[in-house]
Assembly symmetry: C2
């Protein structure tokens, strides 16, 4: 079930980072903003109104742990969080599954494993440059995941 | 204090809809997506990690009540939620204040008070058409607020 939900969200390999009782965290395929993650609910749910207090409570802990981990790992300036679900509605019938996008934002360039990452539009939404994606090779993605995990403390 | 926080978020009049213990809900000035709202934390907080469990719990109730109210009021298809805080970082020093954008999305045109509202990009983020805004006159904004309030049940 979990795997089926993830396959619906991801196009390509699933870069698992960690999970909690209710949520699974994985690395977004697009890494133009270093450390961009997706946090998906493990059970099926179509909209945020359906979340239980326990699921929100668990999500609250992820927000804190993940912002802290990314800050330590990559010196992130600030964070964008969004639950949009737009693409699930392109098809009819729509097939949404609750998930969050966490996009780290950087005022200054950041270097990781000899790659310099430059936030394409700091101070604006990355959706203004949605067509521009950075797809890294599996070895680098694995290094990013390792760096996040090394700094991540989930209760 | 609350008023000062709101003045920092809003450019123009503050179209108050409702408030709860921890959050204040107001109508976004841009109404190209009918019923677009902002939900702002009443106390000062710079990032989502700072929210307490009580504030998340309160927010959970707002998500449910507001999605339900907008669905009943305007037959919304689905909802985008985002906590971005980007514009607060254009200036140095940055001056962020935690708030959420709730953008109702419509597969079909919707008519309200003889105005036909057409979602400019259903299935995509409205940030892809960020330059396009719909600023309505105060009388219509008041009618939208009234319609939301008539359908809103906050615990």
């Amino acid at each position: 079930m979990e795997y089926k939900l993830l396959k619906r969200l991801m196009h390509g390999p699933i870069d698992f980072i960690a999970d909690t009782e209710h949520w699974i965290i994985f690395l977004d395929r697009d890494q133009k903003n270093l450390g961009t993650c997706v946090v998906a609910l493990k059970r099926e749910a179509k909209l945020l109104s359906e979340l239980t207090l326990n699921e929100w409570d668990d999500f609250k802990d992820i927000v804190r742990a993940l912002e802290s981990a990314l800050k330590k790992a990559f010196d992130v300036t600030m964070f964008n969080w969004g639950c949009l679900l737009n693409t699930a509605y392109i098809k009819i019938p729509a097939n949404p599954q609750v998930h969050w996008h966490l996009i780290p934002r950087y005022r200054e360039p950041v270097k990781f494993k000899e790659i310099i990452f430059i936030d394409p539009c700091f101070g604006k939404s990355t959706l203004s440059v949605a067509g521009k994606k950075l797809d890294l090779n599996p070895e680098i993605r694995e290094e990013i995941i390792k760096k996040i995990r090394d700094n991540l403390t989930l209760s």
